[in-house]
Structures are given as structure tokens and as C-alpha cells.
């Protein structure tokens, strides 16, 4: 990368504290995220994925942008549209494929499926189905940081806009607010909760206005713009770790597919899809990179090729992973004391 390119990157990126390398990394993570889910879809159609299958198509920028603003020691609880968070934190894609297919080498060793996974070594906690049950768990992480007086550590909790209607959201955000905990609440607002439109989920103009009930800031950003997301989450993190308390950041996107594979999203107006197809997060960022940091077609091709290779190899490796031994079905219910002897414990 030439210094000419470097400096071409500067104005916006420098303002964000990012360099060109970072921006390309974001782009790459978005590509991997989309690629993992696209391959997952193919695997599902091939009958290789048991149960159902969900993706976060359209949410790549929101997930990657937010995760990019996390620090290494931070913790987070991403949900089912947030594959980009796992990717950005560094999970190996082959383990995701293994998880999808219920293989022994998936992070849950076949015990759970889909994106109900996480690598705790990367500071992520595996989601449960019940929404948004993991949000107050993230608040618990923040509480631990506060009790221990850790000054530069923050917890990140994700919730869909629909799930903000649940009691768990309320109790978690309220506790964080009254205790001023270092926490960032990210609302993935993809405008539908399964088939439920926003006006049946909340009664404010913006989902972020939920924050008003807790006396904390709530802002809304364009979730298809990875840099805008990054900027907002970074600011929210700074706020949180400087002792000013939690806040809500709503990332507005559109769920570009059905709720899951069996759903054709007939209830979403076609024009909506058209509108958001124009704003495809990956395409959008690619264009931005070309216009702003002299990103070339060749560079793009190189990244895409490397991502493709990564995923192809990941798939091969995952398919080589065996199905779990039935004997393990009844193992692992309880932890043993030694398990607590790890870095974070």
C-alpha cells in the first residue's frame, strides 16, 4: 500500500482513529460474515444442516462496525443477526460450519446449533434462544468490571428491536442505568420481528427512544454504514468507560431475508427490499473504499479470493469433523472446579 493511498484514507478514517488497514479489515470481516451465511444457506439446502437456519443478511455493517469498536478485554452478547461480531472477534469460520452441521468440533460440540455459539476466549457469551435474555447478562459483566474497578473495560449487549419489548430488556437496562455501569446497548433494528412490524413492537418514533425511560442517551444510526456504526459505538464505549454510564445505539437496517429459511417474508413490501438493496452494507462500503481510500478492483479481487479460499477450506475442515459421539449427550452438564482456573476467572 503506497503512502499516497495511506494519506488518501486520512480525513474520515483519521477522525475515527482508524487506518486504511483497519478499514480493509472491516470490509474483509463483512465479506467473511456474508460468505459464512451464504455457504450456510447452501449447506441447508443440501440437507446438511439439521433444524432451521437463520442469517443476518443486511446486518453485516452493524455487527462488524460495533465489534470493531470493542476493545480486546471487553465482553459482549451478540445475537442471531450478529455473525459479524463473532467474525470480527476472531472465531475461525470452520468452527461455525461445524456448529451449523451439528459436528463434534463446533463450539458447542453439537449440543446447540445455528449461531447459538461463542468462544469465551474472545470475550463473547453464547446466546440462548429466549430474547433478549443475554442483555442483562452483559450488564452482569459490566457490573463485575465496576466492582473490580477496571477502568477501561466495557460490556456490549445486542437486542433486536422486537425483543426490546421483553421484561429482560427493561430490567437489564434499568440496572445498568441506576448503577451507571460501563455498558453499551445495541439495538439491531431490522424493522421486523419475525412478521411483526415496528409499530406493533414499540410506540415511539425510534426504538432508541426506549432509552428515555432510563435517563440515558439513545441514538439512531444508519446500520448499513459500517463507519457510522463504528463511530457511534466507539463514542458510546468512551462514554461508558469514562464513568458517564450506559447508552443505547440503534442501528437501522432491513432484514434482507425471511426470519429463517422457511419464511419468504411475504409481509415485507417489495419496495422496502429494493430500497435497502441499494444500501447493501458490503457494496456500500466497497464503493466508499474506492472513492475514499483508493481501493482498487485488484485489491478487492484479492480480498474476495482470499475470503473464498478461507471459506472453502473452512467448509472442508468442518465436513471432515465427525458427528458427536452419542455418549457425550449426557456429559458436560456440570463444570468441574479446574475450569475456573482460566484467564478471566
Amino acid at each position: 500500500m503506497s503512502t499516497a493511498q495511506e494519506s488518501a484514507a486520512s480525513p474520515r478514517l483519521r477522525e475515527l482513529g482508524l487506518d486504511r488497514e483497519d478499514a480493509l479489515q472491516m470490509y474483509r470481516n463483512m465479506l467473511i460474515t456474508r460468505g459464512v451465511e451464504e455457504r450456510g444457506h447452501i449447506l441447508f439446502r443440501q440437507g446438511k444442516i439439521p433444524g432451521s437456519f437463520y442469517t443476518g443478511r443486511g446486518n453485516e455493517a452493524a455487527a462488524v462496525g460495533a465489534a470493531f469498536a470493542m476493545h480486546a478485554e471487553d465482553w459482549g452478547t451478540p445475537l442471531h443477526r450478529d455473525m459479524g461480531v463473532h467474525i470480527t472477534r476472531g472465531i475461525e469460520p470452520w468452527r461455525i460450519f461445524a456448529q451449523y452441521m451439528g459436528r463434534a468440533d463446533g463450539p458447542t460440540q453439537g449440543k446447540d446449533g445455528n449461531v447459538h455459539l461463542a468462544d469465551a476466549r474472545l470475550g463473547l457469551i453464547a446466546m440462548v434462544s429466549h430474547l433478549p435474555a443475554m442483555l442483562p447478562v452483559a450488564v452482569g459483566c459490566a457490573l463485575a468490571f465496576r466492582i473490580r474497578g477496571e477502568q477501561d473495560r466495557c460490556a456490549f449487549a445486542w437486542s433486536g428491536e422486537g425483543a426490546t419489548a421483553r421484561g429482560d430488556f427493561h430490567e437489564g437496562v434499568n440496572l445498568a442505568a441506576v448503577r451507571n455501569l460501563p455498558c453499551v446497548f445495541i439495538i439491531d433494528n431490522n424493522q421486523w420481528a419475525y412478521s411483526t412490524p415496528n409499530d406493533l413492537s414499540y410506540n415511539t418514533q425510534r426504538a432508541a427512544e426506549r432509552a428515555n425511560g432510563y435517563g440515558i442517551p439513545g441514538i439512531t444510526v444508519d446500520g448499513t454504514d459500517v463507519l457510522e456504526v463504528f463511530e457511534a459505538i466507539k463514542a458510546a464505549r468512551e462514554r461508558a468507560v469514562s464513568g458517564q454510564g450506559p447508552s443505547v445505539v440503534e442501528c437501522l437496517t432491513l432484514r434482507m431475508e425471511g426470519h429463517a429459511v422457511h419464511d419468504d417474508a411475504f409481509y415485507v413490501p417489495k419496495e422496502k427490499f429494493d430500497e435497502y438493496a441499494e444500501k447493501d452494507p458490503v457494496e456500500r462500503f466497497r464503493t466508499w473504499l474506492m472513492q475514499n481510500v483508493a481501493f482498487s478492483e485488484d485489491e478487492d479481487e484479492a480480498i474476495r479470493t482470499s475470503v473464498k479460499r478461507l471459506l472453502t477450506e473452512a467448509l472442508e475442515k468442518a465436513e471432515a469433523s465427525p458427528m458427536p459421539d452419542p455418549a457425550t449427550a449426557t456429559e458436560g452438564l456440570f463444570a468441574s472446579p479446574e475450569e475456573l482456573d482460566n484467564p478471566h476467572h
Partner: protein
């Protein structure tokens, strides 16, 4: 009479009772425009409008509590949990308010919560639970768990007409797999009366919901070996028709309780304990239980199969007991 799926039977029961009684309304996530995650309520919002088939926010407590409140002022609410597993989010309300209000305050609460339950299709730990054992421990709730299309229709209607909170467990595995003759007209099937699903003389197998089919398949196998199995389908576990269980065990002297819920304190534990107490003098062998292993229901097929009771498990256990 026409052949219907279990799912269609429930759907028909709901529709016909809604036509008969305008106090009946449905509420749940995605049950209106989408027709429900399993399409049980498909077409009902078109027929009855958006205030009788209500798409709710993602709020299980609000859904169920709204049923309680509206029931008290004269409605006949039927809630759908998208999966039975999510009823945990309304656990407090159901056990604290709905179940106890009649006893404490004399207030009748005629409401139904529909619970698409059960495993066997890689739903994983949160889309596979039975959830009957948890609620069967709570005084004040009725629990209906039909195994056939005919019962499914009659029991959803009975559930709506019952003046108490009824949890209606619809087994997802039966929805489209089980078909049977279902009367066209509206009828209701009384609670608290078990059904002899198959007559037999050597061993009694007590089951309900999808496990009735597992028991019947096992009985078929065992018949080939000359072992005659009686299969009792409880249909409701609260109220429990223990008389029918007792009558059968008194004849066969041997009992197996088969249930899909986890072994420890699944409802089969209660039945086994009652048999052991009340039929002690009749028993010619230990009361056996076959159930899911005491772990969450895992996702991956070989693991899930290892956890859920299989036909071969029943065959093995019954055979052993028959030879006791």
C-alpha cells in the same frame, strides 16, 4: 368425518369455537398476518379480524397476563407461545397469578395457553422442551396433551370452555405426521379420562402426547415376541385419571411410565410414585420409567436421539420387565 392432520384438527377446533362464541379471541406472536410459526392460526385473522386474532409484541408475560385480565372481565382468551420453551418467560405469571387466583380470591380465569412442544427434529435446547413436568407441579392449572387429531380438536374446544387456566400442549412432531378421522362438527372431549390406546395383558405402558405413538410402535414390536402390552393414553395429566392407570396395572401387575420430559421429576415420577404406593400389592415387578436423560435437549441428531426415548428403549425395558 374427514381425515385431518393433528395441526388441522386444532386449527378447526379454534375456528369453530370462535364462530360459536364471540368471546373467544387469540393472542400471540406472529399468529395473525403470518398465521403462526406453525401455521395453526392461518386464515383466522382474515376471518375474524385483527382484534380477535391479535399479533402481540414479543412479550410472553404481557400476552399471558392479558389473557388473565381479559378472562376475568368475560373473554375467553387463547394465547399461543411460539414454542412451548418460551413459556418460561411467562412462568411467573402463570404460576403466581393465573394458577392461584381461584383458590385465593375466588376468581375464575377461563384461559388457554397453547404450547407447541417436544423434540425430535434438531430444535436444540430451546425449541424442543416438553415443559409439562414444570407445570404439573403447580396446583391450579390443567394440562391437556392430546396424541390424536380427534382428541386434539375436542380437547382444544374443551380447554376453551373450561373455567380454569388450561395449558394445551401440542406436540410439534405430531402436527403434520399424524393423521386421523376427525368429526366435522364442533365437539368437546372431556378432561380427566384416559384412553386405552391398545389393549394388552402383560405390561401396562402409561404415556401421553407423542410418546403414545412410541409406545404403540414398541407394543407392535413386542407383540411379535409374544409380549402383550396395554398402552394407556392419559390425554390430560391434570386432572389425572389415575383410576384407569390403576385398573390396568391391577390387571397386568407390571407398569412402565413413558414420558418425553426429562427423567427427574418429569410427570412420570408422580405416576410411578402413585403406582408404587397405591398398587403395591398388585405389582409383580418394579415400576419402570423411560424418559429423556437429565440434560437439555441437544441439537445434533445423534445426541438428540441418545437423549429422547426411542422405540427400542421401550422394547428393551418392557421386555425386561415382562420377564421379571
Amino acid at each position: 368425518m374427514a381425515e385431518k392432520t393433528y395441526l388441522q384438527a386444532i386449527s378447526d377446533g379454534l375456528r369453530q369455537e370462535m364462530e360459536r362464541d364471540e368471546r373467544v379471541y387469540l393472542i400471540g406472536e406472529d399468529i395473525g398476518v403470518f398465521g403462526g410459526a406453525f401455521k395453526v392460526t392461518q386464515g383466522l385473522q382474515e376471518q375474524f379480524g385483527e382484534w380477535r386474532v391479535i399479533d402481540s409484541p414479543l412479550s410472553e408475560t404481557a400476552i399471558v397476563a392479558a389473557c388473565t385480565g381479559s378472562a376475568i372481565v368475560g373473554m375467553r382468551p387463547v394465547a399461543e407461545m411460539q414454542f412451548a420453551d418460551f413459556v418460561s418467560c411467562a412462568w411467573d405469571h402463570l404460576t403466581t397469578v393465573s394458577a392461584k387466583q381461584r383458590y385465593r380470591a375466588g376468581t375464575a380465569i377461563p384461559m388457554v395457553v397453547r404450547l407447541p412442544c417436544g423434540g425430535g427434529f434438531s430444535g436444540g435446547p430451546f425449541h424442543s422442551q416438553m415443559y409439562d413436568g414444570y407445570f404439573a407441579h403447580c396446583p391450579g392449572l390443567k394440562l391437556a396433551l392430546p396424541s390424536t387429531p380427534e382428541d386434539a380438536k375436542g380437547m382444544i374446544v374443551e380447554a376453551i370452555r373450561d373455567p380454569n387456566p388450561v395449558l394445551f400442549f401440542e406436540h410439534k412432531h405430531l402436527y403434520r405426521r399424524v393423521k386421523g378421522e376427525v368429526p366435522d362438527e364442533l365437539y368437546s372431549t372431556p378432561f380427566g379420562k384416559a384412553r386405552v390406546a391398545r389393549e394388552g395383558t402383560d405390561v401396562t405402558v402409561v404415556a401421553w402426547s407423542a410418546m403414545v405413538w412410541t409406545a404403540l410402535d414398541a407394543a407392535e414390536e413386542l407383540a411379535k415376541e409374544g409380549i402383550s402390552v396395554e398402552v394407556i393414553d392419559l390425554r390430560t395429566i391434570a386432572p389425572l385419571d389415575f383410576e384407569s392407570v390403576a385398573a390396568s396395572v391391577a390387571r397386568t401387575s407390571k407398569a412402565v411410565v413413558l414420558y418425553e420430559d426429562t427423567r427427574t421429576l418429569g410427570f412420570g415420577a408422580e405416576i410411578a410414585a402413585r403406582i408404587a404406593d397405591e398398587l403395591f400389592e398388585s405389582l409383580d415387578g418394579p415400576v419402570k420409567r423411560i424418559a429423556s436423560a437429565d440434560v437439555p435437549i441437544p441439537f445434533s441428531p445423534p445426541l438428540e436421539k441418545a437423549v429422547l426415548p426411542q422405540v427400542e428403549d421401550v422394547v428393551r425395558e418392557v421386555r425386561e420387565l415382562a420377564n421379571w
